[in-house]
């Protein structure tokens, strides 16, 4: 029976021995910073790079415990980022960023994903619409979440007023166009264009592209709250680094990228997602991005868009672009890491 004194002595001896050993404890588990990314729509290959980065642990490696929250109808990413409900956002586009800042929401754009306009206007080749002027009096469907600005911009360039056509909100389904009830339908290169082509041969379609009329609307803008940009610049840079890695990986291994997306949304159509990724790659690597890297903020394109929106009353006053668009974060990443 150990006497108390012996027990105490033994304990002390052990404690001293242990205490004096140079113990290399595993670094107290790095506390990861919790953050969330709010997408502009439901999960699809359009956002593949982020899902790849998450699946491959790139965010964790940068010290971020990221949750990816999908968007959807009725959600505006700018709102959620401004209120702090989400840390990062992939929002509609330059137009929504402008509109948000115009309304006083404290959001900052830190990167632009699609360098050229992703929207096109599709009509039947053998139909009554041959030029933009033929839009007059026809039924045109569009989304009022940004595509309408592209349409109005193109019409304005040709001197056509919006009330000279019948502009209606666009349905979920492309069936009204296929059935001939709608003359001109709005599509994204990467989504609806695929669906339309799966039901009508490509050479029976005619498209109207904004760039042909001298207009570019860069879309899919990465945003953060002003407070986050000011107080946690390292978090923002870490996020961008990990996302860039994820996107480059997605382009290098498209199959794996689609796998990552399908894991999150299993009811998607695989061939459509693969097509989507190819088109998204084209949009993201267009223009200056080939040279300057992904998520490049092109100041000329931004200024042109800003002036356009000011002219047509989408925003009520001139905005300070330097504050609204902060390229310092993306520029802090070496060009080699940014180039696709």
């Amino acid at each position: 029976m150990l006497s108390r004194r012996h027990a105490l002595a033994a304990f002390t001896a052990v404690a001293l021995t242990v205490g004096s050993l140079p113990i290399s404890l595993p670094a107290a588990a790095e506390t990861l910073t919790k953050a969330s990314l709010r997408l502009k729509w439901l999960p699809q290959a359009q956002f593949a790079g982020f899902y790849v980065a998450l699946a491959k642990g790139y965010y964790k490696a940068e010290g971020i415990d990221l949750a990816i929250n999908p968007g959807g109808p009725n959600l505006l990413t700018e709102n959620l980022v401004a209120t702090g409900a989400d840390t990062f956002g992939l929002s509609g586009g330059t137009d929504s960023v402008f509109a948000a800042r115009d309304k006083g929401l404290p959001v900052v754009c830190i990167g632009v994903s699609h360098q050229i306009t992703p929207f096109i206007f599709v009509t039947r080749k053998d139909g009554p619409v041959k030029t933009l002027q033929d839009f007059k009096g026809k039924t045109v469907t569009t989304w009022f979440t940004g595509a309408n600005h592209v349409l109005n911009g193109m019409l304005a360039k040709e001197g056509i007023k919006a009330d000279e056509l019948k502009i209606q909100p666009q349905q979920v389904s492309v069936t009204p166009f296929i059935d001939g009830n709608v003359d001109v339908i709005t599509a994204t290169y990467y989504n609806e264009y695929y669906t339309i082509q799966s039901r009508m041969p490509k050479d029976s379609l005619k498209t109207f592209v904004a760039e042909d009329y001298g207009i570019t609307f860069p879309r899919d803008t990465l945003i953060v709250a002003e407070a986050t940009a000011k107080e946690k610049p390292d978090l923002v840079k870490a996020f961008l680094r990990a996302s860039l890695k994820g996107w480059k990986e997605a382009f290098a291994d498209p199959k794996g990228a689609v796998d990552a997306v399908m894991a999150v949304a299993p009811t998607l159509d695989r061939p459509q997602q693969e097509f989507m990724l190819t088109e998204v790659k084209r949009l993201m690597t267009a223009g200056k991005a080939a040279q300057n890297g992904l998520f490049w903020i092109d100041p000329d394109a931004i200024k042109t868009a800003h002036d356009f929106f000011l002219k047509y009353g989408v925003i009520s006053k001139s905005l300070d672009l330097a504050v609204a668009y902060d390229a310092s974060f993306i520029e802090s990443v070496p060009v080699a890491e940014r180039r696709p």
């Binding site: 009725n74 505006l76 709102n79 401004a82 209120t83 929401l105 979920v172 389904s173």
Partner: protein, 253 residues
């Protein structure tokens, strides 16, 4: 909804108004005092001002939504009452219709909206169908419960006087079922406006749900709340109207 209407003595009405006033004052105080940004909670005064300044837009949207709600409601009542009567007149149908209806309704009505929107497009038709679905089941159950209540002996009595089935239906069953039937109809009024709005938010050409959807995207939260206020007012008016009709009809019989 309340089956026992609050007795409308002056004191009760006063208290009700007092409650509302306290709520409004607290709301206004919070919004202004804490300088809450509009995307958290706009002040009541701002919202009411918004309702007034956008009254044309909201009025048109309300018209849309109320149209969808009314037509769907009418349709739903017809279907609900019709099915209940059918089951009462032809008892074998009960074993078929009741389980089928219950099965269809085990899914919340709103879950059907994606399907209905794909089938009927985003025009008013899809909203009317959704409202009809929501209303018909409630009215069907209430009417059936009312019709089932009829005293067997009363039926036998009428039969002994040579009354035919239709006669019995018209003079005995329906009047007896009226209170429960009307209660079901009353409860469904508010649901019809809400279901119409929910469906509009997924796709529409117009209406209060559509206005709310647009307002969210345009970061105009005063507009969101303005539309909510108008929707609430519309529901209450509809509810009040049916309640009024109910009292008139029951007073008769």
């Amino acid at each position: 909804m309340s089956g026992s209407p609050l007795a409308s003595s002056p004191l009760v009405v006063q208290r009700g108004i007092l409650g509302a006033v306290i709520l409004v004052v607290c709301w206004e105080g919070l919004a202004r005092g804490l300088h809450l940004p509009s995307y958290v909670l706009p002040a009541v005064s701002e919202i009411l001002a918004g309702v007034w300044s956008k009254r044309a837009l909201l009025g048109e949207a309300a018209g849309y939504t109320v149209l969808e709600a009314l037509v769907g409601y009418g349709l739903g009542c017809l279907i609900g009452i019709g099915l209940a009567v059918a089951i009462t007149m032809l008892p074998p149908l009960r074993a078929v219709i009741l389980p089928a209806a219950t099965a269809i309704n085990s899914v919340p009505v709103v879950a059907y909206s994606p399907l209905i929107l794909l089938w009927f497009g985003i025009g008013v038709a899809s909203k009317m169908v959704m409202v009809a679905m929501a209303v018909s089941f409630t009215v069907f159950l209430s009417t059936l419960a009312g019709l089932d209540r009829v005293d067997r002996r009363a039926i036998d009595l009428m039969r002994s006087f040579g009354a035919g089935r239709l006669n019995i239906l018209w003079r005995l069953r329906l009047p007896t079922a009226l209170p429960l039937l009307l209660a079901g109809m009353r409860v469904s009024t508010v649901r019809s406006v809400i279901v119409a709005i929910i469906t509009e938010m997924l796709g529409a050409y117009g209406g209060l749900g559509w206005v709310i959807y647009q307002a969210v995207l345009q970061i105009d939260f005063v507009q969101v709340w303005s539309a909510i206020f108008v929707a609430s007012a519309a529901s209450l008016s509809f509810f009040g109207l049916i309640g009024f009709l109910e009292r008139k009809i029951l007073f008769w019989t």
